[in-house]
């Protein structure tokens, strides 16, 4: 009986690098690596050569120099003698502000429109379809410009509020819509206001705890405690009590017309509103589609099964359909958030001072450090994107169907 032996190993030949699958992948990777290194070093050499020709260098020293320009919307204290670094940071915060507000509003609009598109009501359904198609199919830049034009060209100037018979008047004497933005009352945090805030936070925790307790009681004993009124009471009664006991420590600063503009209150600039709303309604249209698709993805059998168990329609939605739909809805919605954040860089079109406007705009113009600023800008957006996709991956893992 002869044993089956391997064929005698052939000695290595050069052609095996191309023809033998065992080695071929190494060959390809080697070639790819060499090409990449060549490309990078070619570009690098050009860069060095160009910089040398123009007598320039790569340096981040400019970040420490005084910026010299003013920014209108400052979430943190900043004046024109602060550094470019701080100006960039103000920009970063402004980006995050508009991204946060945009995501929040887009979600509200999107969920509402998505559910409304599946409504029984014919006219609402059609209106929402028009909304979704109109906003999805027109560039966001045009929407930003349109809303900005509404803000600047269609609203009254602060002048119009002046005089005995003003052409425009404030809403409820508290909110002024002008072509420079909207002025709303701003809270003034007086003595003891921290206590009120703390009490309110504690009330939120209390309300959540009460709902948990009620649910547990329901599951354990079958006793049904009322949910709505008690939790509202827990939420607001202690806070209001403390607020009045401490003598109303939080008051409102109303905007008043003085000089050229309104003074006091909170000034929400037209550029912020344009960007915020345009991004929100644009992204909202996409989220609406995601929500609709998510709800439709839950098979009708689930609804019927729940109904045959005797659940009420609202319970069917809350306990059966939505938990399953969310699994489908949330990942694309998160990537819409990502898109919204990236689209917020269009701030430059309306002069909103986000990070593209400060670091990638004025700082770049004033210092001429194109490579450095744009690299920093890209790294910032990259960091945000990676953070958001990190969250998405974590979520995807958490909700993955556990198959055993």
């Amino acid at each position: 009986m002869s044993a089956i032996t391997d064929p005698p190993p052939k000695s290595f030949r050069l052609s095996m690098l191309v023809n033998d699958t065992r080695y071929r992948s190494y060959t390809f990777q080697f070639i790819a690596l060499v090409l990449l290194i060549m490309l990078v070093s070619y570009l690098g050499a050009n860069l060095v050569q160009n910089l040398a020709d123009q007598g320039q260098n790569i340096s981040y020293g400019f970040l420490g120099e005084p910026a010299g320009y003013d920014i209108n919307q400052r979430p943190i204290p900043y004046e024109n003698q602060d550094t470019h670094m701080r100006a960039a940071f103000v920009g970063v915060l402004n980006t995050l502000i508009v991204a946060f507000l945009g995501c929040l509003t887009a979600t509200i609009i999107g969920v509402f429109a998505g559910v409304a598109r599946l409504s029984q009501n014919w006219i609402v359904r059609k209106l929402m379809a028009i909304y979704v198609e109109a906003f999805r199919n027109v560039p966001v830049l045009i929407w930003i410009l349109i809303i900005y034009t509404v803000m600047t060209a269609a609203m009254p100037a602060p002048n119009a509020f002046r005089g005995d018979t003003p052409a425009a008047s404030m809403v409820l004497d508290a909110v002024a819509f002008t072509n420079r933005g909207v002025y709303v009352p701003a809270p003034i945090w007086g003595e003891g206001s921290m206590i009120v805030v703390l009490v309110f936070l504690a009330s939120i925790a209390g309300a959540i705890y009460y709902r948990r307790y009620a649910t547990k009681l329901l599951y354990d004993t079958g006793r049904l405690l009322p949910m709505g009124w008690p939790s509202l009471a827990i939420l607001f009664v202690p806070t209001l009590l403390i607020f009045f006991i401490l003598g109303q420590p939080i008051s409102l600063d109303y905007p008043v017309l003085k000089g050229f503009n309104f003074g006091g209150g909170l000034h929400i600039r037209g550029s912020l509103i344009a960007l915020w709303f345009a991004l929100a309604v644009y992204t909202g249209a996409f989220i609406a589609e995601n929500v609709r698709a998510g709800i439709q993805a839950v098979s009708h059998g689930q609804t019927e099964a729940a109904a045959s168990l005797g659940l009420r329609p609202s319970r069917i939605m809350n306990l059966v359909v939505l938990p399953q739909a969310l699994r489908v809805i949330i990942p694309p919605v998160i990537s819409q958030y990502l898109n919204l954040t990236k689209n917020s860089s269009l701030a430059i079109a309306v002069g909103y001072m986000d990070v593209t406007g400060t670091l990638g705009g004025i700082t770049l113009n004033q210092t001429g450090r194109a490579i450095e600023t744009i690299l920093l800008l890209m790294l910032f957006y990259l960091a945000i994107s990676l953070a958001i996709s990190g969250v998405m991956n974590a979520y995807n893992n958490a909700i993955k169907l556990k198959e055993r």
Partner: protein, 429 residues
């Protein structure tokens, strides 16, 4: 008298009674669709109010519109304080909105013809069941014809470009039997050698069958948006396929390169890439070279689109059952063959709706070039037209027109995509 006469037996059918008025026709429909409950009624009334508001606001504006004045102030005179749109800005500046302000007026027929031919070229791709496969030849020729028509210059430029590709393809076909990689390398190398050789002819052939050349800087308006969209999407398709394959590859280095590229591009906004094209790219090119801004923008947008298309195609690749890959292997096909004949045709088919979405998104994003001082449709509106003395202050008409143009194109494409999805669905019963 017999029982028959006493009993009542109906011999004919009872005539159908009219349903109650609330259960038929428009009333039933209204009840069910609009007023089925209190909350529904409230919604309906709110919606009707919204529609009424929109119509009453825009109706007179549209109906009273003025179409034949030459400036905003004349418009206002004609309107005498009535509400009405000043659409004469469109009739007077339509050519600038569509073609930009520099494209020679007597040459408008060329891009227009290229635009019409685009449909001829796309038809066999989009409606593959209706048109014969042979028409795909037209699709292949289209880029060269369009280039000749839009940019002008000698006809030899696109012909040489085409010949280079044909030559490269022939070499690829010859070498493919040895190995796929050899074929690809050889083909690309041949094409480049041919182009460089013919490029040296340069001036000597500049006059052969030349159309009046138009510089890229002179292109603008909606034409620029369409050009960027079409060029970048078609260039990014092959790149995207390669990137997707690279990302799915088992070779770690290639995979890492592709992943880093895709994630980087997808992580930054397009506008930063356009800044790169505008102010940074020049530093990375050999000293003294500079090519056109439009070309640099095309490069960056193509990179941008290819990363997104790669992700869509990767989804398609991942969605294929494992068995398809194994089937390819078990038939003894090598990687290139199994990809070409088994995997990609199926994966691409699944990915088409996604690719169309990316294409629509990209087409909309071409408006961003207005931020880097290119005069596309939005750039024309924001720049020369709104800045001119005559039309300073005509916002709604211009923005509405731009929005409408984009809407028509994008809505058309997305409707096509949905139609195609239905077509593809019927394929597997």
């Amino acid at each position: 008298m017999n029982r028959d006469q006493l009993s009542f037996v109906r011999h004919d059918m009872l005539p159908e009674a009219e349903p109650p008025v609330t259960e038929k026709g428009i009333v039933k429909w209204l009840r069910e669709n609009l007023f089925s409950s209190v909350s529904n009624t409230v919604l309906t009334l709110a919606a009707i109010w919204a529609v009424y508001y929109l119509v009453s606001a825009s109706g007179p504006w549209l109906i009273n519109g003025v179409w034949d004045t030459s400036s905003l102030s004349q418009c206002r005179e004609v309107l005498q304080g009535q509400v009405g749109g000043c659409f004469s800005v469109l009739t007077e500046r339509w050519n600038q909105l569509l073609f930009g302000f520099k494209y020679p007026t007597h040459l408008y027929w060329r891009p227009a013809l290229a635009f019409v031919l685009l449909f001829v070229a796309l038809a066999p791709v989009l409606f593959s069941k209706i048109f014969p496969r042979k028409m795909l030849v037209l699709t292949g020729l289209y880029p060269f014809i369009a280039f000749y028509l839009i940019w002008g210059g000698t006809i030899l430029t696109p012909i040489f470009a085409l010949l280079g590709i044909v030559l490269g393809f022939l070499v690829y076909r010859k070498l493919i039997y040895q190995s796929a990689a050899m074929g690809l390398l050889g083909g690309v190398a041949t094409a480049f050698v041919f182009w460089i050789l013919t490029g040296m002819l340069g001036d000597t052939v500049a006059g052969v069958l030349a159309l009046e050349p138009v510089a890229s800087r002179d292109m603008g308006g909606f034409m620029l948006n369409l050009m960027l969209g079409v060029v970048c999407v078609s260039l990014s398709l092959p790149l995207g396929i390669l990137l997707a394959l690279g990302r799915q590859s088992t070779m770690p280095i290639i995979k890492v390169i592709c992943v880093v590229f895709i994630e980087f591009i997808r992580g930054v906004p397009l506008i930063t890439l356009l800044f790169v094209a505008n102010v940074v790219l020049a530093y990375f090119l050999p000293p003294g070279t500079n090519f056109d801004l439009i070309l640099r923008v095309i490069i960056m947008i193509t990179m941008f689109a290819s990363a997104y298309i790669a992700e869509v195609i990767r989804g398609g690749l991942a969605a294929l059952p494992r068995g398809q890959y194994e089937a390819g292997d078990s038939l003894g096909l090598d990687y290139a063959q199994s990809m070409q004949f088994i995997i990609l045709p199926q994966a691409l088919k699944i990915s088409i709706p996604g690719i169309v979405n990316v294409a629509v998104g990209l087409f909309k994003d071409t408006t961003l070039v207005s931020v880097i001082s290119m005069f596309d449709l939005v750039g024309m509106v924001r720049g020369p037209i709104l800045a001119s003395t005559a039309w300073n202050g005509v916002y709604w008409e211009l923005f509405g027109f731009s929005a409408l143009l984009f809407f028509v194109v994008c809505y058309g494409i997305s409707q096509y995509s949905q139609w195609l999805e239905r077509q593809l669905q019927t394929d597997h019963h």
